[in-house]
């Protein structure tokens, strides 16, 4: 049975728990991605971060992204979870974990999921800076 779980949470993401539904004796490869809150961005010193999410649409879009990745890369499982609310430096903003028979599929699937999350998930990031007003930042890859 293929695992597909997308979630949103305002509490810290715990990789040691998140991966567990993916355990599967047919899987040879597990790849995880974590987005960490950095202390700088485009030359500015970041002190904190806030994510605001549109939950109903984000959950649908997240599930859809996982389903696409599973179909495209023959994954055995895909789980992703995104934080919202206030985050501090070093915290995990997003966690993605996938399993596949072989490593190439697992890497491609995890990369696809985080790329699509960054471009499609209705979630917004406000960065708080040391010396400047806070600002809503966009995905620079896209705009």
């Amino acid at each position: 049975m293929v695992i597909k779980q997308f979630s949103l949470t305002n509490t810290p993401l715990e990789p040691a728990q998140l991966w567990q539904p993916l355990a599967n004796l047919s899987a040879g490869a597990f790849v995880s991605f974590e987005g960490w809150v950095r202390n700088h961005n485009h030359g500015k010193i970041v002190t904190a971060l806030e994510y605001e999410v549109y939950p109903a649409l984000a959950l649908k879009e997240g599930e859809q992204i996982l389903a696409e990745a599973i179909g495209k890369f023959d994954l055995l499982g895909a789980i992703a979870s995104h934080r919202y609310g206030q985050l501090t430096l070093g915290e995990i903003a997003v966690w993605v974990g996938v399993t596949a028979p072989h490593r190439q599929q697992a890497f491609a699937g995890a990369a696809y999921i985080i790329d699509e999350i960054k471009h499609r998930l209705p979630i917004w990031k406000k960065e708080y800076y040391l010396d400047e007003p806070a600002a809503w930042v966009y995905c620079r890859d896209h705009h």
Binding site: E52, L57, L121, W124, W136, V137, C139
Partner: protein, 84 residues
């Protein structure tokens, strides 16, 4: 028919929430499409984002900006996203 005012329900996120100073709003509009509705709101609330940088969801589904508004729609304009 096309001039009949429709009641819709708006929710605002991120900079659109801050600029409108509303989290949500019940609104009567004569706008025909979501794009026209955005221009109406942009003028009223002085949104800094142009329509070309915005997407729209109606009833929790992405829809084209040039799609006609239906009475009772739950409408959310989506400023540029930044997951991850």
């Amino acid at each position: 028919m096309s001039d009949v005012p429709k009641t819709i329900y708006l929710r605002y996120f991120a900079q659109l929430r801050e600029q409108s100073q509303h989290e949500q709003e019940e609104r009567v509009t004569t706008a025909q499409t979501y794009g026209e509705l955005y221009q109406e709101l942009k003028t009223q609330y002085r949104f800094t984002l142009d329509l070309t940088h915005v997407k729209v969801a109606a009833n929790d589904v992405f829809v084209p900006l040039d799609q006609p508004i239906q009475a009772g729609d739950k409408v959310v304009f989506i400023p540029p996203v930044a997951g991850g």
